[in-house]
């Protein structure tokens, strides 16, 4: 396969260069506008700044390169991986590259969101083009100085060599390069020749992290800053009636108590005083909206699943007919609870609302929308908002919602002080934007020893699966296939949680397939291989997953996990899934320890195209799997009269080291463009674990968390 790609720009305007007054060269570009045709960038190069470009590279006259990474870092590694793409094509030594978080530009950012495992997939081509363009300009400058043709020059790690063996460094020619025109034609490297991409690069913030330097939103401080803690309604559906702040005001360090909406903000000179002051508030609440409980949701969701009110999302053939003529029908309903995100760094944000500008600093996955929301809330112009992103102590979807930024801004606006709003863990878990609880009913028909029909019905709180999902596997594999969904409304706030919908749907479907394989008397791997063969025979443009790549990960995982040949006492469960453009197969090995299943090992095969940063990729893959196991097994969360069942880690169980299996990761070798890894390894693991538990115990688990389900089953047996 070839090889290095020659690219001719017809959108040169996405990139601008200029000479720096103090020496060196600046290359500004608008990363994601580069992919669209309506890029509007200023022509006047003297105005090159953050307001025109969302990312840029600075090359100093010593040849050192600073890359401003435009996407928010939530732990998924883009702050390392995205600059790797630039550095690769720029052909500099990674040691000479310094990475800094870019600032928000609300006008020109088109995709500065961390979510959906899209950062790398979307930036792969444009970032490489930027790096290659800069390299070409530097080479052109050197060639001009030597009076030779640029094509006769070679570059290695920032050193340009001509045919005679003479050398110039990037630093030597950067001044001249800055004055050159942007080249129309550039050459991208053949991925085979990558020296940075594909090689493990450590986290760029590692030194700061291991020595405890300020990095996160919670660490940010400003002159005169005060701390705020907010009392919010104790239950969804309640509003504030009256309150008494006498005891709060007596707390040393408390300076202000501010009622805003149904909330009360306590402002103090230190975090502890603000938290203590909040605890001392005496508030009366009244029920103004329904007090909802999980038991009621469950009844409504089941009723919805059994009604005719679901909307058809995809329909192939006629499942009803397939079911009517079947030899056997298998039906199961799978259930999942609400989930809080529980980022280790609780929600927090700094706001300083001044007459001239609104300064916002902190951890947020959606800087653009949040800045706009603050401007709207305070009736100010968006251009007056200056939002600076910090590293985030986890996101998992929670930091897509900027509700806490609005609170911080409002408190600063009211007090006219710079304010750092800090959530306690209890605030974080009770004022959540939860993964909605959901139920999936799966029905399949078997006739003459073959699978003939498949029906997936979804009932979910406040939301439904996004449009791509009905086209995921097994769509395309069966003549009679139908997906339906419906929702019930709730006043509990819900939103995205790592791998939305698929985080549980994959558990349901891949558990169901285990049962189907058993009913058919077929091995799991063989069943999937057959079904995927059918997809290959009937190509369908709506189907985005690749049957070949799914078969590839499946066959590979069977091999590396020694599928079907587990040693005595080890029980294996398999799961294979496609989401977020990545194909993944996983096998969980469990043993029984005193009657309790323990996951000892997970084998995982991932096809994500070219692996940009193997170290970072490995972290995402293993983290996704362990996060998935933890929530599948332990996450017990419900509501009673609008109040969450857990408020902190004493009652809410997150996975800890003693419960973690070792994870054996393999990549499919590929020259395909890279796809994201922040999410795709999480969804399949729940079913791999459940299927292994079935083999060990004979119990088909359908209701998460599974640890609780196992205990309940045990109690039933003991009577």
């Amino acid at each position: 396969m070839s090889s290095s790609k020659q690219i001719t720009f017809n959108r040169r305007s996405f990139l601008k260069t200029s000479a720096l007054a103090g020496g060196g060269m600046l290359i500004g570009f608008n990363l994601f506008n580069a992919c669209s045709n309506n890029a509007k960038l200023p022509v006047d190069i003297s105005k090159l700044n953050y307001n025109d470009f969302n990312a840029f590279i600075k090359i100093s006259d010593e040849g050192k390169v600073t890359i401003f990474s435009p996407n928010p870092e939530i732990g998924q590694g883009v702050k390392t991986a995205m600059p790797m793409l630039i550095a690769e094509e720029l052909d500099v030594a990674w040691e000479d590259v310094y990475v800094q978080q870019g600032k928000l530009d609300t006008k020109n950012y088109t995709r500065q969101v961390a979510g959906g495992s899209q950062s790398i997939r979307r930036s792969w081509q444009p970032l490489r083009e930027v790096g290659a363009t800069a390299r070409q300009m530097l080479v052109n400058a050197a060639a001009a100085q030597w009076g030779v043709d640029a094509s006769t020059c070679k570059v290695d790690k920032g050193i340009i060599t001509n045919a005679k063996g003479e050398q110039l460094t990037y630093g030597n020619v950067v001044k001249a390069a800055a004055l050159l025109d942007i080249p129309e034609t550039i050459q991208l490297k053949d991925p085979k020749n990558f020296s940075i991409v594909g090689k493990g690069k450590g986290n760029v913030d590692i030194d700061k992290i291991i020595t405890g330097q300020p990095l996160f939103g919670l660490d940010y401080k400003a002159e005169g800053m005060q701390y705020a803690s907010v009392l919010r309604p104790p239950a969804f559906g309640k509003t504030l009636e009256t309150f008494d702040a006498t005891a709060t005001k007596a707390v040393a360090g408390v300076t202000d108590v501010i009622k805003f909406g149904d909330k009360i903000g306590v402002i103090a000179t230190n975090t502890w005083a603000a938290m203590k002051g909040k605890k001392a508030l005496v508030a009366q609440w009244k029920q103004t909206k329904p007090a909802e409980s999980t038991a009621d949701h469950d009844k409504k969701l089941v009723a919805l699943l059994n009604s005719d009110d679901l909307k058809i999302r995809r329909k192939d053939g006629n499942v009803k007919q397939a079911f009517a003529t079947a030899d056997k029908i298998i039906e199961r309903t799978y259930e999942a609870p609400f989930l809080p995100h529980n980022c280790m760094e609780p929600m927090n944000f700094f706001a300083n609302v001044t007459p001239e500008k609104i300064y916002l600093v902190g951890p947020i996955q959606t800087p653009e929308g949040t800045a706009r929301g603050v401007a709207k809330k305070l009736n100010r112009d968006e251009s007056e908002v200056d939002l600076q992103m910090t590293r985030m102590g986890g996101g998992f979807g929670r930091r897509l919602r900027g509700d806490f930024v609005l609170e911080a801004a409002e408190l600063s606006h009211r007090t006219k002080k710079p304010i750092k709003l800090v959530y306690s863990r209890e605030d974080d878990m009770t004022a959540g934007v939860y993964r909605p609880s959901s139920k999936y009913k799966l029905t399949a028909s078997i006739k003459d020893g073959a699978l003939t029909g498949y029906r997936l019905q979804e009932a979910c709180v406040n939301a439904n699966m996004y449009g791509l999902i009905p086209n995921f596997f097994p769509a395309g594999a069966l003549e009679h296939y139908q997906v339906e969904s419906g929702q019930i409304k709730s006043n509990i706030s819900t939103g995205a949680w790592r791998a939305p919908y698929t985080n549980f749907l994959a558990s349901a479907e891949q558990s169901f397939f285990d049962e189907l394989a058993e009913a058919l008397g077929t091995d799991r791997v063989a069943l999937h291989m057959q079904l995927l063969d059918k997809v290959k025979q009937n190509p369908n443009p709506k189907i985005k997953y690749s049957p070949e790549r799914l078969q590839g990960v499946l066959q590979s995982v069977a091999k590396v996990s020694n599928w079907g040949n587990a040693p005595e006492g080890v029980y294996q469960g398999l799961s294979v899934y496609y989401c977020h453009n990545t194909h993944v197969a996983e096998v969980a090995d469990i043993i029984m320890d005193n009657g309790t299943p323990v996951v000892k090992k997970v084998s995982c095969v991932v096809d994500c195209g070219i692996v940009v940063n193997p170290l970072g990729a490995m972290n995402q893959i293993k983290g996704g799997i362990l996060d998935g196991i933890g929530h599948t097994m332990y996450a017990d969360f419900s509501f009673k009269d609008g109040t969450p069942s857990s408020k902190n880690f004493d009652t809410y169980k997150l996975i800890r080291m003693a419960q973690t299996p070792r994870i054996d990761v393999h990549f499919i070798e590929s020259q395909e463009d890279p796809t994201g890894l922040g999410e795709p390894t999480l969804p399949p693991i729940g079913a791999a674990v459940a299927n292994a538990i079935y083999k060990a115990t004979g119990q088909r688990l359908t209701k998460q968390p599974y640890e609780k389900a196992l205990l309940e089953n045990k109690a039933k047996v003991l009577g």
Partner: protein, 164 residues
């Protein structure tokens, strides 16, 4: 209304240096470190001693700073992540870097402090012992495999510095 606030004074010994602070007697050491002394490497995670993000060393032992009141801290020899080594050269910190442990990184100073104290008491731990010792520290990104490997690597480097 003017509030007259007289807060007690405490003398603390942190990272080998003396500090004098004024704080309410029930203030957790965590917030004194973070808000008053700018030692923000010690993190707030849960406030009830469940997650370990706020782990510091008190007289060499891993201790939750969120549960340590300032009024009991005067007699303590306190070490925070900032004082574990001068520039990050402690074998545990170096192992964290070699393995590239962090994802979001927020819990890692607590993890490092727990591991460093543990390796003083058990210089040649089994993986089982590591898993037990580290079980009090939550990593929400679930970088547990890497943490386990890094603690093991650090113990090897402590035992055989030449090799490192």
């Amino acid at each position: 209304m003017l509030k007259i606030e007289v807060m007690p004074t405490y003398n603390l010994k942190i990272n080998g240096k003396s500090h004098t602070v004024n704080a309410d007697e029930d203030t957790p050491l965590l917030w004194v470190l973070r808000d008053q002394l700018d030692l923000v490497g010690t993190k707030f995670g849960c406030g009830i001693g469940q997650c370990g993000a706020c782990t510091i060393h008190v007289d060499g032992h891993a201790t939750r700073s969120c549960l340590t009141q300032i009024s009991e801290a005067e007699t303590m020899e306190i070490t925070t992540i900032e004082g574990l080594s001068k520039t990050g050269e402690h074998p545990v910190q170096q192992a964290w870097k070699t393995i590239d442990v962090p994802q979001c990184g927020y819990c890692q100073s607590g993890q490092i402090m727990t591991a460093a104290a543990f390796l003083k008491s058990n210089t040649n731990p089994s993986n089982e012992a590591i898993r037990t010792a580290m079980n009090g520290n939550i990593c929400r990104c679930a970088s547990y495999n890497s943490i386990e490997d890094a603690v093991k690597l650090a113990s090897e480097q402590i035992n055989n510095p030449q090799k490192a």
